[in-house]
Amino acid sequence: MEFHKILVPVSGTEADGEAMRLACRLAKKNKAKIWAVYVIAVKRSLPLDAEIESEIKKAEDILDHVESVAEEQDYEVETDLLQAREAGPSIVDEAVERGVDLILMGVTYKKHFGQFSLGNVVPYVLKNAPCRVILYHQPIA
């Protein structure tokens, strides 16, 4: 499989670094372009363009971290920050707009009511993505 454009949505979990490392390894073969995006979900009681300082700082820190992970892999990555009502549709829309070949997402082990759960974003992306999706799932500690 050849990938020329890879989108890596990050969310501040431990899986982000590993997902970025994997993306860099996959990208090296064809010198693919990598974008890392973080989506700030804005509640409906705020305008969509509301700038929440704490969220932006957190997002910048996360994107700085994945940039440094990519640097360790000797690879360059572009980062971007989005604000949306929901993360899933914005990731898919980003993939459509950029025409990416692959969405690579890191997933941590989560439980809801005692059951393993992928949350809301991952199932949405899996269902609606216009391209291949790789989920990087960390081993259970």
Binding site: V39, I40, V42, K43, R44, S45, L46, P47, L48, D49, A50, E51, I52, E53, S54, E55, I56, A59, E60, L63, T79, D80, L81, L82, Q83, A84, R85, E86, P89, S90, V92, D93, E94, V96, K127, N128, A129, P130, C131, R132
Partner: protein
């Protein structure tokens, strides 16, 4: 792979600063815009009919029609304004650009009053509809008002926490609502419509001139939702095209439906019944009057559940709308930044949500004592909304004169040329009509006069003290810095 993926309503994206790049992305389409606006406007017929009948009696359909014409003027003004200035803030934003910060504040503060009353009135009319299941909710003022207050408190809590709103519920509710109302109109016309009876009910119960004009003012409550659509402009691509389209769709749908419902209502019951027994749940009154038991037994509970749901959505929309407006005003340094403060954990503007819901509860409280709160709320809403609409019309005219070069993707035609400026006739007529009606409300309605003036006075004092403390001019525009809010 899904090559046919299309973003769903509510799938909006915005890019704040990052590596000195800033890109705003908006994806709402016309149907989603229409649903959001209709959700507000469509809900208002569930109480507007009764409020208007309280004063306009037999002239209710005519008064709604006249108010509908004013609604068209106002919607057209908003269409030009929103296409020109696609940002959150509605008439406050128009006034800020058309005049100055003080005008922007006055329009915004008046709008806040109408939002608060929308919250109160929507919540107030839920219990009467649910009275189908337990009569006490309709006939006992304490049970009914306490339920309304409980609804406001519940919605306040969930908005502070910030539960995700499912946009599909809004669209689904709008579709079911339009379908039910169309069905009710068709069934009503088939089973109840009698031109002779209708004629007599209208003209034998004609109101005084004062009440006729008051009825037109109160009927403005039937057409809430223009501001909602304007505020949604920031969430759509090509707002200059989509917002005017959605507004026009809303105008047509609402006018046709409201005309039909109001004529059917006077076919179903006398103006006296509409203004008394069914004042707070007029649509339920129509269903209760249907002669065929099977249809009646299906429609009555359906309308009870539908009205309750739609009005709950409308109450929630009012809370979200006012918190967004307060945030927008805070961003432009028109109100203290405390109202823009966001909860460190929930990321919601909790202070503005709590404060304005508390005011809504205060407005509801006279209902506990079976006071004449319904009509008073209607008049208070008219005070705030007409003032905001006046500023909207005036601002559009001012912008035509001051900034004729500003791109106007949706430019109103039918203009008068005055001193070299092209001024839209609809805005001129809208300004004149809303001003006259607002003045009449001010003169004839003591409750809305004193509460409205007190609200505006409190607002102006807050504005004055805040601007002085911030060393900002009272009238001139503050240069926008794109400041982020602090917690």
């Amino acid at each position: 792979m899904h090559n046919s993926w299309r973003p769903k309503p509510g799938d909006e994206i915005f890019r704040p600063r990052r590596i000195k790049r800033y890109r705003l992305r908006r994806i709402l389409g016309v149907p989603a815009l229409f649903s959001a606006g209709y959700g507000n406007v469509g809900s208002s017929i569930y109480y507007a009919l009764g409020i208007v009948a309280l004063v306009a009696m037999g002239a209710t359909p005519i008064v709604l029609g006249i108010a509908g014409i004013l609604f068209i003027f106002t919607a057209l003004t908003y269409a030009e304004g929103t296409a020109m200035l696609p940002e959150a803030g509605g008439s406050s934003s128009f006034a800020r650009h058309g005049f100055n910060d003080l005008a922007g504040f006055v329009a915004g503060w008046a709008l806040m009053l109408s939002y608060i009353v929308t919250i109160s009135i929507s919540a107030y009319t839920i219990p009467p509809y649910l009275g189908y299941f337990w009569e006490g909710l309709k006939i006992d003022p304490i049970a009914g008002t306490a339920t309304s207050m409980g609804i406001v408190i519940f919605l306040m809590v969930i908005n502070v926490i910030g539960i995700k709103e499912a946009s599909l519920i809004n669209i689904g509710a709008a579709i079911i609502d339009i379908t039910t109302q169309v069905s009710l109109v068709i069934i009503g016309f088939i089973l109840l419509f009698n031109p002779t009876v209708l004629f007599h009910r209208i003209f034998d119960n004609w109101p005084t001139l004062d009440n006729l004009i008051l009825g037109i003012a109160l009927a403005s409550i039937a057409y809430t939702g223009i501001e909602t659509m304007s505020q949604m402009a920031e969430e759509t691509r090509q707002p200059e095209k989509r917002v005017p389209k959605a507004l026009i769709m809303m105008i047509v749908t609402v006018l046709v439906l409201f005309a039909g419902i109001s004529l059917v209502s006077l076919s179903a019951m006398t103006p006296q019944e509409l203004a008394s027994e069914w004042a707070r749940d007029p649509v339920a009154g129509i269903a209760a009057s249907l002669p065929i038991a099977l249809i009646r037994d299906v429609l009555k509970p359906l309308i009870a559940i539908l009205a309750g749901t739609i009005l709950l959505i409308a109450t929630n929309a009012g809370i979200m709308g006012i918190s967004r407006l307060a945030f927008s005003l805070g961003n432009h340094k028109l109100v203290p930044s405390a109202l823009s403060r966001v909860h460190h954990r929930f990321k919601t503007p909790y202070i503005s949500i709590i404060v304005f819901c508390a005011v809504a509860l205060v407005i509801l409280s006279p209902g506990l004592f079976a006071a004449n709160v319904f009509k008073n709320m209607g008049a208070l809403y008219a005070f705030g909304s007409l003032l905001a609409f006046m500023f909207a019309h005036a601002s559009i005219l001012s912008l035509r004169a001051k900034k004729p070069e500003l791109p106007r993707p949706f430019k109103l035609s039918w203009n008068l040329r005055i001193k070299g400026y092209e001024l839209p006739i609809s805005a001129i007529l809208g300004l004149v009509a809303t001003t006259i009606i607002w003045i009449i409300i001010l003169i004839t309605q003591p409750y809305s006069r004193w509460v409205g003036i007190a609200w505006m006075a409190v607002g102006l004092i807050i504005y004055y003290l805040y601007r002085r403390k911030q060393h900002l001019p009272l009238t001139h525009a503050v240069k926008e810095q794109g400041d982020s809010i602090s917690q």
